[in-house]
């Protein structure tokens, strides 16, 4: 352990080659004769991962818990869809979506980041709902009836898959870079004590706006990718408050404020979402809520924390646990202020 960045904790537990192996594996996955359904599942999971990682930049690194990410997801989805319907190439459209989303993030962030604590959280909820209603009444977006993509050319699922994979890779890379960067350090400072951060020269407000914009861009891109796949989007879907909640849950499940936590969270979320909804429609909320409460009360650091613990227990030395406490202090979720 050289420095105490939360990233490093992960970097050393998951050896630095593993991500690359994973990437290669995922690249060759479709050619391994995977069923359409599984590819679809992987695709959706990858899209979730992008949003999860993006949220973690703001909520995990900078500690600004936002319940409004569906706004960027939706803006991205709609921008992408509208552009594609104009005949713009899908990838250009996704870029456009990202841009539009980050613009939206500035419009949302500029006022809300002046707020602190619960006020920020509640404001993001408000913005989310307001935008959703707005969208279900605007004409250009097709209102509550939703918007249909006119698909150009044949539908190739694999292409969608690779798009999502690429996006996820980009997202993770960005998050890794930020975590190690000077900027990332500032974000962590802000997360822990905004005033103290200001006292050492960090311009918290601007930092928050930057990271928010980056996260929004990623989320918007994810939205566009999803829209292209679903070929039909509507406000009740992409702008739904539940979308915001899902985006927030994944990092929590996986391990908030880490690089790989949100990824892990995305994977599990994708799996749970699919399996529970498909197999136990009657109790999926129950399992969901139960899991969430367990994580909050028992394993605030999420799966990554769990992972650490298991690794340690195999090492079975009580000493290292103490050291861990010394090194990390409070867990990342425990007592984290909004």
């Amino acid at each position: 352990m050289k420095t105490g960045t939360p990233a490093s904790g992960i970097r050393f537990s998951i050896s630095s080659v593993l991500p690359w192996l994973l990437l290669v594996a995922l690249i060759f996955l479709p050619s391994a004769g995977l069923g359409t359904n599984l590819i679809r599942l992987f695709f959706l999971t990858l899209v979730w991962i992008v949003t999860s990682v993006a949220w973690n930049l703001v909520g995990g690194f900078a500690g600004q818990v936002s319940f409004g990410f569906a706004v960027f997801y939706g803006v991205g989805a709609y921008t992408g869809a509208l552009l594609m319907n104009q005949g713009v190439s899908p990838y250009a459209a996704m870029a456009g979506a990202a841009a539009m989303a980050s613009i939206a993030s500035l419009i949302v962030g500029a006022p809300t980041f002046r707020l602190r604590g619960p006020y920020f959280v509640i404001a993001t909820i408000g913005v989310n709902e307001a935008v959703r209603v707005l969208m279900s009444n605007l004409a250009i977006t097709g209102g509550a009836s939703g918007l249909r993509l006119r698909e150009h050319g044949p539908y190739r699922q694999v292409e969608h898959y690779y798009t999502a994979l690429g996006a996820a890779a980009i997202a993770i890379a960005i998050s890794a870079v930020i975590a190690r960067s000077r900027f990332g350090l500032a974000l962590r400072a802000i997360r822990q004590d905004e005033d103290a951060a200001a006292d050492v020269g960090v311009n918290a407000y601007v930092c928050k706006l930057y990271v928010h914009a980056i996260a929004a861009a990623l989320t918007g891109m994810a939205g566009a990718i999803f829209a292209r796949y679903a070929a039909y989007i509507n406000p009740q879907g992409v702008f739904a408050f539940n979308t915001s909640i899902s985006i927030l849950l994944m990092p929590v499940i996986g391990g908030i404020g880490t690089i790989w936590g949100p990824v892990l969270g995305g994977v599990v979320f994708g799996a749970i979402e699919e399996q529970l909804v498909a197999n136990f429609p009657n109790i999926h909320l129950l399992l969901y809520g139960g899991l969430l409460m367990l994580i909050v009360l028992v394993e605030p650091d999420g799966l990554v924390g769990l992972f650490h613990r298991i690794v340690r227990r195999r090492g079975s030395d009580s000493r290292s646990k103490g050291i861990d406490k010394v090194l990390w202090g409070r867990s990342r979720l425990e007592g984290r202020e909004l």
Partner: protein, 426 residues
């Protein structure tokens, strides 16, 4: 602070088992993704025809979705009891098998599950999609996977104007609903029950359903000048909780006729507040909602005299309807509630007929058969179900009216009427 952390630590230890539990649970769910893939694949054996069913049985549309599910299951049960569907190229009768998914009234999930059914469950066709939005989301998948898909509860024309080859709809277009409703009221005018030139106020949900409804009404009024004048028309957000403001506006518009188009929940909420605001119009209709027993339970006599244009009514004077009602009672222990179960039931029968006609479960063949199949002795108004060129069915609507004493009468069209329309509202 320190003692607290100690306390937490103690708490931790106590929960170590649980922590292990989480790990196991998560790993299970993660791995279990791969399991159904194989298991379902084997399940779809050669001697059954699997039919994907994607409907909401939870969430906002849960109730009607449930009814439609029952209709489907009843149809499948009946067909299987009769030995199944004869498929020529198999040279024998095959049983129908339902693969059900609950989309929780979420369009994204709905599409995703329809896709799952089409891509992983070897289904011959997918039926489902209750409520316009969910139907719209699902409809995309039909052509993508070249799998026949029949909407059992989505009547918006937008779905079927996309040039899809594999999308079918068991509901007549909602425009027709709007038109039929005004048409019917105009008849009342002709009979002298109502005056000419009455003022009409409309409030509809802001989905295609509502838009089409208004469209149908407006078009009719435009075509037949002198009957009515539209003085107020606004859209409202699905699932609103408080309509008092909107209703005040309606009240202020001094209309004689109030036409709304809403989903079941919104209908109940809005009509309760309508009554509480002390309004009364000569004619009140909530589009395709009205006779539902939920509404009756919620508002009692308040729902009396409400008109509804629906795709099916249990009062239809056909023998097959009586039979269906009997079976449905025996199957669920309940009377069929409004039209929901009937359309989905008929969708399955049409599908079965198409498969038999095609003589194979090949998707394209079944699709072609669906285009040409004509389901005689259907429950639906007119007694015939067939799908138009755009895949959407086109049978007439029936207008029903709630009467005092939990009575529901078909009041239009004449030939199947079971009672006289009561208007203006006493």
């Amino acid at each position: 602070m320190r003692d607290l952390s100690l306390f937490c630590a103690g708490f931790r230890v106590g929960f170590r088992a649980l922590r292990g539990g989480i790990a196991v649970a998560l790993l299970f769910s993660a791995t279990s993704v791969l399991v159904p893939e194989s298991s379902r694949a084997t399940a779809a054996a050669d001697d059954t025809i699997s039919i994907g069913v994607v409907l909401p049985t939870t969430g906002r549309e849960g109730k009607p979705g449930q009814f439609q599910k029952e209709g489907i299951e009843l149809a499948i049960k009946k067909i299987n009891e009769a030995g199944g569907v004869f498929v020529k190229d198999k040279g024998k009768k095959l049983l129908l098998k339902e693969v059900f998914y609950d989309d929780g009234s979420d369009p994204q999930k709905s599409a995703s599950l329809a896709e799952r059914a089409m891509s992983s469950d070897h289904v011959t066709a997918v039926v489902g999609g209750y409520s316009t939005q969910l139907g719209q989301a699902e409809s995309v998948m039909a052509d993508r996977y070249q799998t026949p898909w029949i909407a059992t509860g989505a009547g918006a024309t937008a779905i079927f104007s996309q040039g899809y080859q594999y999308a079918f709809g068991a509901l007549s277009p909602v425009e027709v609903l709007g038109a039929t409703t005004v048409e019917f009221i105009s008849k009342l005018v002709d009979q002298g029950k109502l005056k000419r030139g009455l003022r009409v106020a409309m409030a509809v949900e802001n989905t295609d359903h509502g838009v089409d409804y208004v469209g149908g009404v407006k078009e009719w009024i435009a075509k037949h000048p002198g009957y009515f004048q539209l003085v107020f028309s606004e859209n409202f957000e699905l699932g609103s909780t408080d309509f008092s403001g909107l209703l005040q506006k309606v009240k202020a518009s001094k209309a004689d006729i109030y036409l709304a188009d809403a989903h079941l929940q919104d209908y109940i909420t809005m009509h309760r507040q309508y009554l509480q605001s002390g309004m009364r119009h000569q004619v009140v209709s909530y589009g395709a909602r009205g006779p539902e027993s939920d509404a009756r339970k919620a508002l009692g006599a308040g729902t009396d005299y409400v008109f509804a244009g629906i795709w099916w009514s249990q009062r239809l004077p056909y023998p097959q309807v009586a039979k269906f009602i009997a079976d449905y009672k025996q199957f669920t222990g309940r009377e069929p509630d409004s039209w929901y179960a009937a359309t989905s039931h008929e969708a399955i029968r049409a599908l079965a007929a198409a498969i038999e006609k095609a003589g194979t479960t090949n998707h394209a063949a079944v699709r072609n058969a669906l285009h040409s199949v004509e389901l005689k002795n259907s429950l639906l108004p007119g007694g015939v179900l067939k799908f138009g060129v755009n895949g959407q069915a086109g049978y007439p609507f029936v207008i029903v009216q709630n009467k005092p004493g939990d009575k529901v009468d078909i009041v239009y069209p004449k030939e199947s009427a079971t009672g006289e329309p009561i208007a203006p509202r006493p």
